[in-house]
């Protein structure tokens, strides 16, 4: 379990983290979203016990990170931003060192190392020095180091950054298998990742929590949630036809691919009405879809509401 209470970090006048409180339970994967410089990494560094909070507190499995740092750190596996390690060491040497520091012995140690190496497919590079590895491998070494002691709590700062799509998929699968009995925080700015691994997402900007919801809940905030989009030869006619439906708030035509999207009034399902209208008018279309909502749009809306509002106004004019 991870809990933060009114966590703050100030650098001079700059508030990097400004009163962040949340609680993550075992079995949950919390996604940390936010623009660069929002305070994601700073928050994670405070949870991991690297930075001292200006005020507020964080606890890991009930151990206060400031008052009982060693107990808290024993419970925690942490992948710092950029996956730093000791470049002159071999992968094997590095993992042995971490196992030593973590006090792993005998069978537990062998299983821990084998498991981490196997899960992150590091067998082929065990004898290489970390400096000579590609970015993706280095990140995986960092991940292996974090899960070596089978920690109850994992804090991973951008675990999939620099990985190719296959590796990303593997790491996401790994996080999901581990999530069953662990508490995990993952920071990312890849929004698709939120869907793939997170059971809950927190969006922060300027050091404050702006949204705390399930990925589905976040999507529901999107204009596109429950919207219906279709491809047709004649978008103008489709726009006319669909605008007449009572629960449709607006119909837009994508200027690039000509796709027509009908937006519902708040909370009104329109899929049935739209398909009925199309059928009645015998309107030709090649494909139709019910939209789930677009996270990237919600993300922008939440993190820079003024900019989004300005753009919408411009479009309207």
């Amino acid at each position: 379990m991870i809990e933060t209470r009114d966590l703050c970090k100030r650098y001079g006048d700059l508030k990097a983290v400004d009163g962040i409180s949340f609680k993550v339970e075992p079995g949950q994967v919390l996604g940390f979203l936010g623009p660069n410089g929002a305070g994601k990494s700073t928050t994670m560094k405070m949870i991991a016990g690297f930075l001292t909070p200006t005020s507020g507190s964080a606890s890991v499995c009930g151990f206060d990170v400031q008052a009982q740092p060693l107990e808290a750190k024993r419970m925690l596996g942490y992948l710092p931003e950029g996956a730093p390690s000791y470049g002159e060491m071999t992968v094997a040497g590095f993992l042995q060192f971490i196992a030593d520091v973590r006090g792993l012995d005998g069978d537990v140690r062998r299983r821990g190392i084998d498991n981490a190496v196997g899960r992150l497919s590091l067998t082929s590079v065990m004898g290489q020095t970390i400096d000579t590895l590609s970015k993706g491998f280095r990140r995986r070494v960092g991940l292996a180091q974090a899960i070596l002691h089978d920690p109850k709590v994992l804090v991973l700062d951008e675990p999939t950054d620099g990985l190719d799509p296959n590796q990303k998929h593997e790491v996401r699968a790994l996080i999901q298998t581990m999530s069953r009995d662990k508490t995990i925080i993952v920071s990312t700015h890849v929004l698709e990742e939120v869907h793939a691994v997170c059971s809950r997402a927190i969006i922060i900007a300027d050091g404050k929590v702006l949204a705390d919801d399930t990925p589905q809940g976040l999507e529901a905030r999107s204009r596109y949630h429950q919207a219906v989009s279709l491809s047709t030869e004649n978008p103008k006619a489709a726009q006319e036809l669909l605008t007449r439906i009572g629960d449709v708030a607006a119909v837009e035509i994508d200027p690039q691919d000509g796709r027509v999207t009908a937006f519902p009034r708040k909370g009104k399902p329109i899929f049935q009405a739209v398909t009925d209208a199309l059928k009645q008018g015998n309107f030709p279309f090649s494909e139709i879809a019910l939209e789930q909502g677009r996270l990237d749009e919600v993300f922008r809306q939440i993190t820079q509401p003024r900019k989004v509002a300005a753009v919408t106004k411009q479009e309207a004019a």
Binding site: Y11, K45, A48, G49, F50, L51, T52, P69, L70, K73, R74, L76, Y78, P80, E81, G82, P84, S85, Y86, G87, E88, M89, G93, F97, I98, D100, V101, R102, G103, T129, Q145
Partner: protein
């Protein structure tokens, strides 16, 4: 618990020490150190012309050699950890700040000890040529090792101040130079000439590496000199802990 703690320090020390030898740096350092030791002792130190069977020329030059070579070892202690970001990894492992500082310092100290021990051919030479007081020589080595520790502790603290190794190097040389000069007769005379009372002059001399090293290098181990070096090491390591705590974030 206490054995586990000692164990952790030795794990950190071993990792650090291995990393010295993982790159050519360690070998280059040792070779240069040995070459300079011999050059200073046999040529500049008039080892043969003096006609005395002791290692005074060697021990007299050693502080000056340390002044430039030890900061080259200590500069990477923390600056490199900060630059590569591995400091974040290290300090989020279940390791206390003291263990980390001590573990890294000990590695550097042991490394210097190895370099110092490798000057043994000079000792063999003097034993071959004459009949020196080997007790005094041993004391001299012991004093040199202690002084190296003090240099390294200063370097550890100043290396924690920056992520740039060059800056760490220069800062350490300057501070160590000041600490050495504080005991130089010329400087002390100058201070006395400025009208400072004898107690101030003594206090400044008391801070100096050279004053305390001089006695030991002649084979006299005084408890006060021992204490001086140990306190010096303790103080600068404590300062390292404070500096790292303050500066690790940036």
């Amino acid at each position: 618990m206490s054995s586990a703690r000692k164990n952790l320090i030795s794990i950190l020390t071993r990792r650090e020490l291995k990393s010295y030898f993982a790159t050519p740096v360690a070998y280059v350092f040792i070779v240069i150190f040995l070459v300079l030791c011999k050059a200073f002792t046999f040529y500049l130190g008039d080892f043969y012309q003096r006609g005395q069977a002791d290692l005074l020329p060697f021990f007299n030059f050693l502080p000056w050699l340390f002044l430039f070579l030890i900061p080259a070892i200590s500069m990477r202690l923390w600056a490199e950890e900060r630059k590569s970001g591995s400091i974040e990894l290290l300090l989020t492992l279940p390791v206390s700040m003291w263990q980390a500082v001590l573990g890294k310092f000990l590695a550097a100290w042991i490394f210097t000890g190895i370099a110092l021990a490798l000057t043994f051919p000079i000792w063999i030479t003097v034993n071959y040529l004459g009949d020196p007081d080997n007790g005094a020589i041993l004391a001299g080595y012991f004093g040199s090792f202690l002084m190296a520790g003090a240099f390294l502790a200063v370097g550890s603290c100043l290396s924690a101040l920056t992520r740039n190794q060059v800056i760490a190097f220069i800062l350490t040389v300057v501070v160590c130079f000041a600490l050495m000069l504080a005991g130089w007769p010329m400087i002390l005379e100058g201070i006395r000439g400025l009208g400072f009372p004898q107690s101030v002059v003594d206090a400044i001399a008391g801070l100096s590496f050279l004053t305390h090293f001089a006695a030991i290098s002649k084979g006299v181990i005084d408890l006060r000199d021992l204490l001086y070096f140990l306190l010096m090491i303790g103080f600068w390591l404590y300062a390292s802990v404070v500096v790292i705590d303050l500066k690790k974030a940036d």
